[in-house]
């Protein structure tokens, strides 16, 4: 059988990096094809080549044996390729309706909104999706935004659908629903290219897997030839996966206590309602829940970015309820934000500078009114070595690093302040296995030094592995606190949907 879509020895260079170095890929009709590889292996770059955003330096692209050159995404759309980008391509100030219209290929010059609305409703109904069409995208949760992106592909009637880490932002239930769709697409004879780091999903879905490493194809395997160990081995190669173990610990002292907290409501996002929680010294407290149930508000209140309406927060017995961000941080709370690129770093600045964003005023980084560049450099060298950060040539803007390395920089910076409490939101979202395990190990090491961590995550496997206790949130309240060793995914799932509480 001939491949529907064939990528042959494609090379793509960016200033300073060879992102793709002769990569090959064969996509057959009616299959779910998983692309595996660490961050920086070139998966997203390759997908952006297929999407027409990047034009390759060399190599060929064939569809049904015919060579194609994509000059723009328009050519790619014409060829029947559609993609949900990892960072959604949505117009945030426009409504859902207007965003979906962008995908309608035969859009008439005069927009007959009534007629178009009926047409879009039909498609939504066909797939059993309920999205409020007149809501601006920015008021939607990330999960809902992804459905909008998916609807855009469905409207285009693509032959090849590319999904770049679609499940990173979905709940287990939503993921299952997505997988249902993907399998349905397959039945209809469409091909799906799927990128994920979650092995369970890869095993469940894939008909074929292509493993990439450093911009080249390592291996192509069909179902039956691979299992989790084989894939992990191919992906990581000779690199070591950090190993760690959780020691049993006794917890007594309370470092942070939250009492009857209420916080302001934002549209479509649950606020905090009479929220009480205690964090003990040296403990890792996981917070499970579907995104948009108040986790973000909780993190923002704890780190001082948002004032609570009422209630109290005590750190080491000291009232920090109304402290601003700076004071809260002085009280020893570190923050790994949800959106690492927009909140965690100054994208155009170098790794060295990003590592001292919070401590540039402290000794030894300051000399009178000047910065001590020697100390800054030494600090960077140490952190880069300690955290195994691949920082690229000196002075590289941090935004050019892969997601995993950016996250390492953020965590290195936050931990270098020796905080007593770390609030981490989705710390491993979008990270490959190696990087994710590394982040876990670092948090676990800090636990040994009695740092307390609140890990907010949607990845239940991560929470079960990492946490000493798991609190489950639903609509701004805690619906239960469970012991990871005596609970099940089902129990947590029920608490997440609020059913157990009723």
């Amino acid at each position: 059988m001939e491949a529907l879509l064939k990528v042959e020895s494609v090379v793509k260079t960016f200033p300073g990096v060879k992102a793709l170095d002769g990569v090959n890929l064969n996509i057959y009709q009616g299959e779910i094809h998983t692309l595996l590889g660490e961050n920086g292996a070139g998966k997203s770059t390759l997908m952006n080549v297929l999407n027409g955003l990047y034009s390759p330096d060399s190599g060929t692209l064939r569809i049904n044996g015919q060579p194609y050159v994509f000059r723009s995404p328009k050519d790619s759309i014409k060829a029947g390729i559609g993609m949900v980008h990892q960072h959604f391509m949505l117009v945030y100030n426009n409504t859902v309706f207007e965003n979906i219209l962008l995908a309608v290929s035969d859009l008439p010059f005069w927009l007959d909104k009534k007629k178009l609305r009926i047409r879009i409703k039909e498609i939504l109904d066909r797939f059993g999706l309920h999205i409020e069409l007149d809501e601006p995208i920015r008021k939607l949760s990330i999960g809902q935004q992804q459905w909008v992106e998916l609807v855009k592909l469905l409207i285009r009637d693509c032959k090849v659908l590319i999904l770049d880490e679609p499940t990173a932002v979905l709940t287990p239930q939503e993921s299952d629903r997505l997988f249902g769709f993907l399998k349905q697409f397959k039945e209809e004879g469409r091909s799906v290219i799927f990128i994920s780091h979650k092995m369970r999903e890869v095993m469940e879905l894939s008909d074929r897997v292509t493993v990439l490493k450093k911009g080249t194809t390592v291996k192509e395997l069909v179902r039956g030839e691979f299992d989790e160990t084989v894939l992990a081995g191919l992906m990581i190669g000779t690199d070591e996966i950090p190993v760690w173990e959780k020691e049993r610990k006794e917890f007594k002292e309370t470092v942070l206590s939250i009492e009857h907290l209420f916080a302001e409501k934002e549209k479509n996002m649950s606020d905090l309602i009479d929220f009480s929680l205690e964090l003990r010294k040296g403990e890792i407290l996981g917070i499970a829940g579907v995104a948009g149930n108040g986790q973000k508000t909780l993190a923002e209140v704890l780190t001082g970015l948002k004032p609570p309406l009422s209630g109290k927060i005590y750190a080491d017995g000291k009232d920090i309820t109304n402290a601003d961000s700076r004071k809260a941080y002085i009280a020893g709370i570190a923050h790994v934000p949800e959106d690492r690129k927009s909140m965690g770093i100054a994208p155009e600045m170098s790794v060295d500078e990003n590592l001292i964003l919070k401590s540039y005023k402290e000794k030894p980084f300051r000399k009178f009114i000047f910065q001590n560049f020697k100390a800054i450099k030494e600090n960077a060298e140490k952190q880069i070595a300690d955290f195994a950060i691949k920082a690229g040539p000196k002075g590289t803007p941090i935004r050019l690093l892969s997601g995993g390395n950016i996250q390492k920089v953020i965590i290195a910076r936050e931990l270098s302040m020796r905080p007593s409490v770390l609030v981490a939101l989705y710390p491993t979202r979008g990270l490959d296995m190696g990087s994710a395990e590394y982040v876990h190990k670092v948090i676990m090491d800090a636990r040994k030094d009695d740092m307390s961590t609140i890990v907010i995550s949607e990845d239940l496997d991560e929470l079960l592995k990492l946490s000493d206790r798991i609190a489950v949130m639903f609509r701004g309240r805690i619906t239960g606190i469970v012991d990871p060793e005596h609970t099940s995914r089902e129990e947590i799932g029920l608490l997440m949907s609020g059913e157990a509480a009723q």
Binding site: F14, N51, L53, Y54, S55, S72, P73, K74, I77, K78, M83, H85, H87, F88, M89, L90, V91, Y92, N93, N94, E98, N99, L101, L102, A103, L107, P108, F109, W110, L111, R138, K152, E266, K341, R399, L400
Partner: protein, 306 residues
């Protein structure tokens, strides 16, 4: 009295309205243009020169539109295709406009033409108080009002308008939907610059039918501020332009009546108001939302790794 003031208000507001509409068109595509002042001057001079030489006001208007468009093309090319700094490019465009019009305008100083005359619309112009002010104006005033409606319809009722707004909000999303970001931005800059030129031409062909150096007197800058006041919305732009026209009209009248206030102070009024309006417009915003096109001022590079 009210009728005369209202009439003067609309006349003084019209050049601002053209320029603001032009700027809105450009900024909705994501390109900020601080060269409006220069474009207005180019429009004012070329419009006057063409009208004087050909003895046709229509030719004057057409020439002003295309001359300003040509000047705007420089800005468009720098911002859209060379991905240059839009602020710097716009500022240079203003300097360029001031310089080139004072150079080539010398020989036109002191010449006169007969400007646009009033066209009375039957029935409507008989409405008491507002009839004469609104419906006994020149054709360019009527055209500017039509343009307000047309641009609103264009933005919210047509495919091209939706695409243009998307380009200004998130060029990446537009690009991956198959929309030619560069083409949309360039076209918006061209047409928008032409409209700014019309604003200038209104000054030299209708408002005061002669040419003097630097005759726009900062109106281009007021237009840039009005875009923010109008929250990138063409109907609000009309309210804003007439508001400023009104202040101007009142100010002139007060001078004519001979108040004890210094004329310099009175002439400052529109500009003081610009600042006040910016403060109010910003304060009124709903928290967390901004009517500003999200990608305003940022060049789009498809291959940039974000």
């Amino acid at each position: 009295m009210i009728e005369i003031l209202l009439f003067a208000t609309i006349k003084a507001g019209t050049p601002l309205l053209f320029a603001t509409l032009g700027a809105i068109l450009m900024e909705r595509s994501g390109v900020i243009n601080l060269g409006v002042e220069g474009l207005m001057l180019v429009g004012a001079l070329t419009g006057f020169a063409a009208a004087h030489t050909t003895d046709s006001l229509f030719m004057g208007v057409i020439t002003a539109f295309f001359a300003a468009m040509a000047a705007g093309a420089i800005h468009g090319f720098i911002c859209v295709y060379l991905r240059g700094n839009q602020i710097v490019s716009g500022l240079s465009l203003t300097m360029f406009g001031i310089g080139i019009t004072s150079l080539f305008g010398r020989s036109f100083v002191g010449l006169t033409i007969s400007g646009f005359s009033k066209v009375e619309i039957p029935v409507l112009s008989k409405i008491p108080y507002i009839g004469q002010a609104l419906f006994n104006q020149d054709v360019l005033v009527y055209f500017s009002i039509l343009l307000v409606v047309a641009i609103h319809i264009f933005f919210y009722r047509t495919k091209t308008g939706l695409y243009l707004r998307s380009v200004g909000e998130n060029p990446g999303a537009a690009d991956t939907s198959g929309i030619n970001v560069g083409l949309y931005r360039m076209s918006a800059v061209l047409v928008g610059s032409g409209l700014a030129g019309l604003g200038g031409a209104y000054l030299s062909l209708a408002y005061t039918p002669f040419w003097v150096e630097n005759m726009t007197a900062g109106r281009g800058w007021i237009a840039v501020a009005l875009v923010i006041f109008a929250q990138w919305n063409s109907t609000r732009a009309m309210a804003g332009a007439y508001l400023f026209g009104g202040i101007n009209a009142v100010q002139l009248r007060m001078q004519a009546m001979g108040t004890s206030l210094s004329p310099h102070l009175l002439m400052m009024l529109p500009y003081l108001f610009t600042i006040a309006v910016l403060v109010i417009a910003t304060l009124r915003l709903e928290k967390g939302s901004t009517p500003e096109p999200e990608a305003l001022g940022t060049p789009y590079d498809r291959e940039d790794r974000k």
